[in-house]
């Protein structure tokens, strides 16, 4: 990674976001394997560079919309570990009071407009957030995260085209982790770069190294500036890797079936955005090893605090069933 001129505080900021996501997700994985979390969880491990790089290029006013694999996006946008963890446990102290769960975390106060369990379901909504910015002459931008699989949904097509025709400040960030569930992206589309689809909407389509958080930041920042300047939407394809399962617990569920060969899996696992960034930060002497370790310790501790708090958070009252229905 060569990123001359990247401000030190930005690098530290991004590094921190990546690390926060990693430590949180590792713990979620552990908790799920121990049978402590209800429902399904889809971890973001291996893809942290994308959310971290993109969100570092945003202000607090800018909004994001997320997916079933959404924890990383919430954290990168500044989400609170405690309220997230409590939500994963389905507790009253969670972001959504236990009504949302892993696939539906939102924090409207920090412009995190919600994770959405329907593949492709967030794109139209992100267009709407962009429409809002345009309508109110705000310089807010709207970001939408989605996967390679989602790029084959009709909503992708309609959303990019609509954002383009109205010249809306929307940045479509495709996290191409090479798989939609068990189906390789190359089997679900006959093209190498999803970014090429931008041609069909008359907007820029860029491929970025989705393992390199600093490159993602640079590419995202350019798109953000373009959008703020009234230049309309951009499609960014971040080539990344899912380090593990589609959903936790997959191994048991698949009953011995495999869909990734050893070499590909090993290669994917080798491309670790945290490791890369750690090396960069160390080699460029951005932070001394002690501070890096201290940071890690701090984050790990706050994940543990979040777990403890989530455990202590009460189950939702049955009366809550009928709350939050009408505004």
């Amino acid at each position: 990674m060569h990123h001359q001129g990247m401000p030190v505080d930005v690098v530290i900021d991004i590094y921190t976001r990546v690390l926060r996501i990693r430590r949180f997700e590792e713990e979620v994985g552990r908790l799920f394997r121990q049978g402590q979390l209800p429902g399904f969880v889809h971890l973001y491990i291996g893809e942290e560079a994308v959310a971290a790089g993109v969100c570092a290029a945003l202000t607090d006013e800018d909004t994001i919309v997320s997916t079933h694999r959404g924890h990383g996006h919430v954290i990168a946008k500044g989400g609170d570990f405690k309220r997230m963890m409590a939500e994963l446990f389905g507790k009253a102290g969670g972001y959504c009071k236990g009504k949302g769960g892993s696939m539906h975390i939102a924090d409207f106060d920090i412009g995190m407009l919600g994770a959405i369990g329907i593949v492709g379901g967030g794109m139209p909504i992100a267009v709407g957030a962009g429409l809002s910015a345009w309508y109110t002459d705000s310089d807010r931008v709207s970001v939408c995260f989605f996967g390679d699989g989602a790029a084959n949904e009709g909503s992708f097509h309609e959303s990019l085209n609509l954002a383009s025709t109205l010249t809306l400040p929307v940045i479509f960030v495709c996290e191409n982790n090479q798989y939609g569930e068990f189906t390789p992206a190359r089997q679900a589309m006959n093209i190498s770069d999803i970014a090429d689809r931008a041609v069909g909407y008359g907007i820029p389509g860029l491929v970025a190294d989705g393992v390199d958080a600093l490159e993602i930041y640079r590419v995202a920042l350019a798109a953000v500036e373009r959008a703020r300047a009234g230049g309309g939407p951009t499609l960014i394809e971040a080539k990344t890797h899912r380090r593990g399962s589609h959903a936790e617990g997959e191994e048991a569920f698949l009953g011995g079936q495999t869909y990734r060969d050893e070499t590909e899996l090993a290669a994917a696992q080798a491309k670790d955005p945290l490791l890369l960034l750690h090396t960069y930060v160390s080699e460029n002497e951005i932070l001394p090893a002690e501070l890096l370790e201290a940071l890690d310790g701090e984050i790990t501790a706050s994940v543990q605090e979040a777990v403890a708090a989530a455990r202590e958070s009460p189950e939702p009252e049955i009366a809550a069933l009928y709350e939050d229905l009408w505004a």
């Binding site: 909004t63 919309v65 969670g94 972001y95 959504c96 009071k97 236990g98 009504k99 949302g100 539906h104 939102a106 924090d107 409207f108 407009l113 919600g114 959405i116 369990g117 329907i118 379901g121 794109m123 139209p124 909504i125 992100a126 267009v127 709407g128 957030a129 962009g130 429409l131 809002s132 910015a133 345009w134 309508y135 109110t136 709207s142 009709g154 909503s155 097509h157 309609e158 959303s159 085209n161 609509l162 025709t165 109205l166 709350e323 939050d324 229905l325 009408w326 505004a327």
Partner: protein
């Protein structure tokens, strides 16, 4: 009071609310020219930003409305025909219809989806289905199906001001209908029924165009000495159960008239509710009058036969009397 068409009343509601609140805007396919004349003239008054033509992309347009709503605006999303909304079903059911709850009350989606509902213009099955029953099923969406210009205007204004997603259904077959519409501003609360004809022998419950079928039937019945009460629900979700139960307590007889396919219809809901909650007041079995249970045919002759007629209603009333 001036008598206005349904189309004019809707147009007034839209214009008045857009004048009142700058966060209200209209988005959809060809809303500027106006596929339905009710959106005409708004573009001239409100311009590019507030009357937005879109590509033919129902899913994205519906979702864009939702995204705009949760970031503070009050979109009116025109999806044209009820069936086109099938393409946006995910956004409406999964997102608008659950977002507030799913996110623990953090947000609200204050927007209106507007479509033409039901049959009557020989447009063939793809342009002639009623959709209200689907959205009545969804816990967090309001549904409105007015039968008169007066009700349409007052309810649409309330829908636009409501902080929740509202599906506002209009009916091509009411396009030309006129009623008195005051010059002064008025609102009709969502969820309140209106007794369109008072009567003591039987309660006929309907909404939208079916109200006129019910009224026609009531007129004929009157000359045969049967005094029917016709309740126009106007709002289908929430619906005014109290008004219906009160009427049934008086009449002891109940007929639901609904222009839609029979199974799991609004008529089924009303009939089930009356049977459940007013059983001991009932002197006869509840009756449902709906479309015949077939897709909507094109031929005007068949289309007419497929829809509930005044004769069907009269027959149903007579079944409650025998």
């Amino acid at each position: 009071m001036p008598r206005k068409t349904y189309v004019a009343a809707i147009q007034e509601a839209l214009a008045e609310e857009m004048r009142r609140d700058p966060s209200v805007f209209l988005i959809g396919e060809d809303v500027r020219i106006g596929v339905f004349p009710s959106t005409r003239g708004l573009y001239a008054e409100f311009g590019d930003k507030r009357v937005i033509d879109t590509p033919i992309s129902e899913l994205a347009v519906a979702g864009a409305g939702i995204g705009a709503a949760i970031t503070g605006l009050r979109p009116i999303v025109d999806l044209m025909f009820g069936t086109f909304l099938y393409l946006a079903f995910d956004q409406i059911a999964n997102q608008a219809g659950a977002m507030r709850y799913m996110y623990g009350g953090q947000t609200k989606a204050s927007l209106v989806f507007m479509v033409q509902n039901g049959a009557g213009s020989s447009a063939g099955h793809h342009h002639s289905q009623a959709v209200h029953q689907f959205f009545m099923n969804m816990p967090q969406i309001k549904v409105i199906l007015p039968s008169s210009p007066y009700d349409g205007k007052g309810l649409l204004k309330s829908a636009i001001r409501d902080d929740n997603p509202v599906l506002f259904l209009h009916s091509l077959s009411l396009g030309g209908k006129r009623s008195e519409v005051p010059t002064e501003e008025y609102l009709i609360p969502i969820g309140l029924a209106d007794v369109k004809r008072a009567g003591s022998d039987v309660t006929i419950c309907a909404a939208g165009p079916a109200v006129h079928t019910a009224l026609a039937a009531a007129k004929t019945l009157a000359s045969a000495g049967v005094d029917a009460e016709v309740i126009d629900l106007r709002s289908l979700s929430p619906w005014d159960k109290g008004a219906v139960l009160e009427s049934v307590a008086k009449t002891g007889r109940f007929v639901a008239v609904d222009e839609s396919f029979p199974t799991c219809s609004a008529a089924s809901e009303w009939a089930a509710t009356v049977a459940e909650e007013a059983f001991h007041q009932l002197k006869a079995p509840v009756q449902r009058v709906t479309n015949k249970d077939v897709p909507m045919p094109f031929s005007p002759v068949l289309e007419k036969a497929a829809l509930p007629s005044a004769d069907d209603v009269i027959a149903a009333v007579q079944r409650t009397l025998s």
